[in-house]
């Protein structure tokens, strides 16, 4: 049996401009995801994450390229793979006049589950999402975060073999986000495969077994969070605010990355004392911390994940 849950080769997407130029949203994206993996697409807004996710989940046709889901051709025959998929759309909302319980239950019934299965799975998913107390309130009365959790609960209750989650924790508080992460981990232990998009670095790091960094329609890097951080070239990040004036000297200690008016030096503990002295000599504010995924992202993309296009 094919062990790939998803295999994409050279996927391109060009949006034809009706009143403007064509936009190339994806420029030949190729990736493979094995069954049971949790994978993140990490990138800035407009990087192409959602476009890829929608193509892979059969909701958008690519301009060229191929996508296989569980060994089936998802481009030529999307209906053959759809029963195995479930999608949390970006900024989706539940039916406002259904309760979270009704929303999850009725969606499971529409997917063909029996009443008993739909009931028990809906209850479990709502509990996982911390929605039990509001499970019988109309969605119109819920907060934005609770509605988003309702959407996630509805979809994870399917326990579909391949789940696509587009910014699933957007608008949620940190506590709720952690609950969502736990439920995703549980799903993959049951055999589901998860592909999610996020621009939360902590989420990508905590959740993903592997992650892809996406920018301007291209996959720029792939690996575990540790592998990506290792690529940065050091273990410590020394950030010098307004450090442009001494950037040449800083570059002698290791790779530097600019983020606004801050210069980050990626280095090791041995050079720390000298860098701090250099910055102090110029009266510049300096902070020190371990290398994070943010530096890896900056190094790979050349810009902060928070920068807009």
């Amino acid at each position: 049996m094919n062990s790939d849950a998803l295999r994409a080769d050279s996927v391109r997407k060009i949006y034809r401009g009706r009143n403007g130029p064509d936009i190339e949203a994806l420029s030949g994206v190729s990736l493979r995801i094995s069954r049971g993996e949790r994978i993140s697409l990490l990138g800035r807004n407009g990087a192409g994450k959602t476009t890829f996710l929608r193509i892979a989940s059969t909701l958008l046709a690519p301009t060229s390229g191929s996508v296989e889901i569980f060994g089936r051709d998802a481009i030529a025959d999307p209906e053959s793979v759809r029963p195995y998929l479930a999608v949390v759309p970006q900024e989706g909302k539940p039916f406002m006049h259904l309760t979270p319980r009704e929303q999850a239950y009725s969606y499971l019934r529409a997917r063909g589950f029996s009443k008993e299965t739909a009931q028990s799975r809906a209850d479990h998913a709502l509990e996982q999402m911390g929605l039990t107390e509001v499970a019988d309130r109309l969605s119109i009365t819920l907060s934005g975060g609770q509605r988003q959790r309702t959407m996630v609960a509805t979809v994870i209750a399917t326990e579909a073999p391949l789940l696509f989650l587009d910014e699933p924790t957007i608008g949620m508080d940190p506590f709720a986000r952690r609950g969502v992460w736990e439920s995703f981990k549980e799903l993959t232990t049951k055999g589901s495969t998860i592909l999610l998009t996020t621009h939360y670095l902590d989420e990508a790091e905590a959740l993903s077994q592997r992650l892809y960094i996406v920018d301007q329609g291209r996959l720029l890097a792939e690996g575990t969070a540790d592998q990506l951080k290792h690529r940065v070239g050091g273990t410590l990040r020394v950030s010098v605010v307004s450090g442009d004036g001494i950037s040449q000297q800083l570059a002698t200690f290791g790779p530097i990355v600019r983020d606004g008016d801050t210069v980050h030096v990626i280095t090791g503990p041995g050079d720390l004392k000298e860098i701090l002295a250099l910055a102090a000599h110029s009266n510049l504010t300096t902070t020190v911390g371990p290398v994070t995924l943010e530096e890896a992202f900056l190094r790979v993309v050349g810009r902060s994940i928070h920068d807009e296009f």
Binding site: M1, L59, R82, Y84, V88, L98, R109, G112
Partner: protein, 256 residues
């Protein structure tokens, strides 16, 4: 990692989830009690006007009101479908699932029909009593309403997919459904319409359907050729619209 897991068995029926989705849509719509109650406001106003100004046409207006109420279901389907797609993005949940696009379209349409059928039943009953309807006329009316629903829901669903924001849809929606529902001889008898255009207006599902019911009731006396023309036009329009909507539903379930 679980690379050796078999995929779960899935239903191959094209109508998986249809009943459940009808129930979902019905439940959603029934929260809009005011909307359901006011869905017959135009018809009620016309009935009052005609009752006051030209009582002899009241039977025509009453039968036209039943047909028009069913025709308006398409407007509800159009708005609901667009709302779910543009604002809620819930169509993505249903399209990336075992549910086929045609089951999604039909489930939404039937759910809305069930929610809005009470005013239609009230008008139907009023027609049966006040016109009064004969059994053949009642049967023709039921058949016409069936074809009318299939036509209008299909057209409404297709139109809903052509727009990217709700504000663009509303004016076209009002124009389309009122132009074809109010302007032609639906609330008034066919013989008041310009004579040269009468066969042509029978090609419209609303006017043709209403004329068929009025003919069956004996309110109109149409040439046989016109009756055939209206019946064939209505059935063909319903079939073409339905086939077109199913084709379109499948096509747009994956955007280009």
């Amino acid at each position: 990692m679980n690379s050796d897991l078999a995929l779960p068995a899935v239903s191959r029926s094209r109508w998986t989830g249809l009943g459940a989705f009808i129930g979902t849509e019905l439940r959603v719509q029934l929260h809009e009690v005011l909307s359901i109650a006011t869905s017959v406001i135009v018809q009620a106003v016309f009935l009052v006007f005609v009752a006051v100004l030209a009582r002899e046409y009241l039977s025509y207006t009453l039968l036209g009101a039943v047909v028009f109420s069913t025709f308006q279901i398409g407007q509800r389907v159009q708005n609901e479908s667009a709302w779910i797609r543009i604002d809620h993005k819930l169509h993505q949940l249903y399209h990336a699932s075992p549910m086929t696009p045609e089951a999604y379209f039909l489930g939404m349409s039937v759910g809305i029909l069930l929610a809005y059928c009470l005013p239609i039943v009230v008008l139907f009953t009023a027609s049966a009593i006040l016109v009064p309807l004969t059994v053949p006329a009642a049967l023709v009316l039921v058949a016409v309403l069936g074809a009318e629903f299939v036509f209008t829901a299909s057209v409404g669903y297709m139109i809903s997919t052509w727009f990217q924001n709700m504000r663009s849809i509303w004016p076209y929606s009002t124009l389309f459904f009122n132009f074809f529902g109010v302007l032609p001889p639906v609330f008034y008898p066919l013989y008041l319409f310009p004579q040269a255009l009468q066969p042509w207006v029978l090609l419209l599902p609303t006017a043709g359907g209403t004329a068929l019911v009025e003919e069956a009731r004996g309110l109109l006396s149409l040439p046989t050729a016109w009756v055939v023309l209206a019946a064939v036009a209505l059935v063909v329009a319903a079939i073409l619209a339905f086939v077109g909507a199913v084709y379109w539903a499948r096509r747009i379930s994956r955007e280009r």
